[in-house]
Homo-oligomer: 366 residues x 2
């Protein structure tokens, strides 16, 4: 078994994990359906009370005229961008070099929609107003991801968002929000989902990140945009006869967790502080602006894995199941705070971080 | 309230319905998950035991090297056709004028994949060898739907299938099976799913038609084709983080119902006989070759709806919730036999058909 697998294995055996809401298992579905009567009717190809109610609820929360439930954010976002491109007649959109569309979707936007991306900003920072103003090519739409996940969940200032929104409206560029983790950034911005969404022409939110549902996404916008998106949803093969397993669980966990984002944010800041006090460790961002951050560690992989495995075994706390190489010959992993963090005792956590600091100190000083 | 709505309403109030497995409600999910432990792990973006096991099982049943679970048949089939077109370098496929791809998918194949369909055969009959041989345009793939749903579920002779398969292999045309209702036709053909599938290069089956799952589809074929289809599945936005709500229910209902297709077929023939003995009624096909058929009735809509509503109220048996215009100034509806038919008492059924015959007789002789 490789070192990597033994880290994953050790992680799997831990009693507490600092990230997430808990295991992605069938219990997640069972809990969501426990109080749903068997007689509750299914949705039917996008119609029916169960889908309508949730869509209306999300449209209200996002302050948009309408919303539609999608099986995935990949589908929802490609479709939103396609609609904006068709509307303007220019098959170009701008987004960050590490956008989900650019690195995780097998080029669906290009292969299915023949839309060309214009990559804005250096990959290590968020898009600023200047990047938008200095863009040389004409695009139909600008997509902003809040927070920018692949760089630890960074955010532009709220004033930057506002000025980008004003600029785009002046220039006739549609502004789309990749809000996979929109609810998670609201405590930092001190804004409501509707206030942030008001800056954008279309908004996608995920129901299985901070919300912790099973799968699915919501796209919100004007009546006209949402109507058109339903046609594309069918074309993509996303207009399933029944989406209720995802919808009912999304609704259930939304009600449980939408109000806990402040807590997750505070927990993330506390935990990032613990990491940053360890030798050779720094979080990105240094001070989290949502429930997430990346942990970068400058240490040889083998020794790092060995240290982590020992910590997991001794304390029962799992910090990460994997390590990825970063640009500085070190390693990193992602932390997203959810319900699990509060289950970890302060005492044990303190011990785990003491061990981490000691072991990394030994490695660095060796 | 319109007449149409009152028919739907009366239907909804009936105790027994002749079609289907029962209401599409949350109980369908609850039953499937009743004996699944909460600790059962989710699939994760197409990986994990729960999706692998079901895919392997379906590959085995369909006699193919590999299979992949899709959220929808719309997605699975467009992708299969795209792969065949890319392979041959010709963006044309042949299928029936009433193929699902042509009439129910908002032109996804054309709009997303830029594939042009060549429509074979008259819309009122199935594709024969002659249609394929006489095709003037060169295509990458021929799609056959078994049974041809929109004309009541008709089938070509098995010898025709074999000869089309031989011809396509000679000519280098990939043969794809739209087997949304493949399991449902096996009793008529007296063949296994693997035997029928062996005639085809790729095979799609639905898990929520005769099988009665919640949603989802399986695409089966060679290792190479299935591997490529997974890339397209991600591009389409179908590579969900969790598909287990559909997979576990598909597996559960497959095990319950795959062995009952003979029964459904026999029941369909019996029920079609009852319809055909009524004045002004004929089924298409006259003798069903699967669990499904269409019922055509030559009568004015208002009188027909009034007769049906009365029958529903008096007998508690629902025959259809809707009527569609046919090409002969009459009306039709679809019947698909499932578990519900056996719940209807013979006595009451006899009474319902007596009433139908009498009422239609009055209408016709008026």
């Amino acid at each position: 078994m490789s070192e990597k697998n033994s880290l994953a294995k050790a992680f799997k055996s831990t009693r507490y994990q600092i990230s997430g809401h808990g295991k992605r298992d069938v219990q997640v579905l069972k809990d969501a359906f426990e109080n749903i009567g068997g007689g509750q009717e299914s949705d039917l190809y996008g119609t029916g009370q169960v889908i309508k109610d949730f869509q209306d609820k999300m449209a209200g929360i996002l302050g948009k005229e309408a919303a539609v439930f999608f099986p995935s954010g990949t589908m929802a976002q490609q479709i939103a961008l396609r609609i904006w491109c068709d509307k303007k007649g220019i098959k170009k959109v701008a987004y960050h070099p590490l956008s989900h569309l650019e690195i995780h979707e097998e080029d669906g936007l290009k292969e299915l929609h023949h839309i060309e991306p214009v990559l804005l900003a250096d990959k290590n920072r968020v898009i600023e107003l200047e990047d938008v103003v200095n863009m040389e090519e004409e695009v139909s739409c600008l997509l902003l991801e809040l927070p920018q996940r692949e760089i630890g969940g960074q955010l532009p200032d709220y004033e930057t968002l506002e000025s980008i929104s004003v600029y785009c409206r002046e220039k006739g560029i549609a502004l789309h929000l990749d809000g996979a983790r929109l609810f998670e950034v609201l405590p930092y911005y001190k804004k409501s989902a509707a206030e942030v969404s008001a800056l954008f022409d279309s908004v996608y939110v995920s129901v299985y990140k901070g919300i912790g549902g099973i799968a699915g996404a919501v796209l919100a916008g004007s009546e006209a945009i949402i109507k058109e998106s339903k046609v594309w949803k069918r074309r993509h093969g996303g207009d399933l006869i029944s989406l209720y397993p995802y919808i009912i669980s999304a609704d259930y966990y939304f009600d449980q967790r939408a109000g806990k984002m402040e807590q997750y944010y505070e927990d993330a800041r506390e935990l990032a502080g613990l990491f940053n006090r360890c030798a050779g460790v720094s979080t990105l961002p240094l001070e989290p602006v949502s429930n997430m951050f990346h942990v970068h560690i400058q240490a040889p992989k083998e020794k790092l894995e060995s240290a982590l495995t020992d910590i997991y075994e001794e304390t029962g706390i799992g910090l990460t199941s994997y390590l990825r190489e970063n640009d500085n010959e070190g390693y990193y992993f992602e932390v997203s705070i959810g319900d699990q963090y509060t289950r970890v005792s302060e005492e044990t956590l303190k011990k785990a971080f003491q061990m981490l600091d000691e072991r990394l100190g030994e490695v660095i000083n060796a």
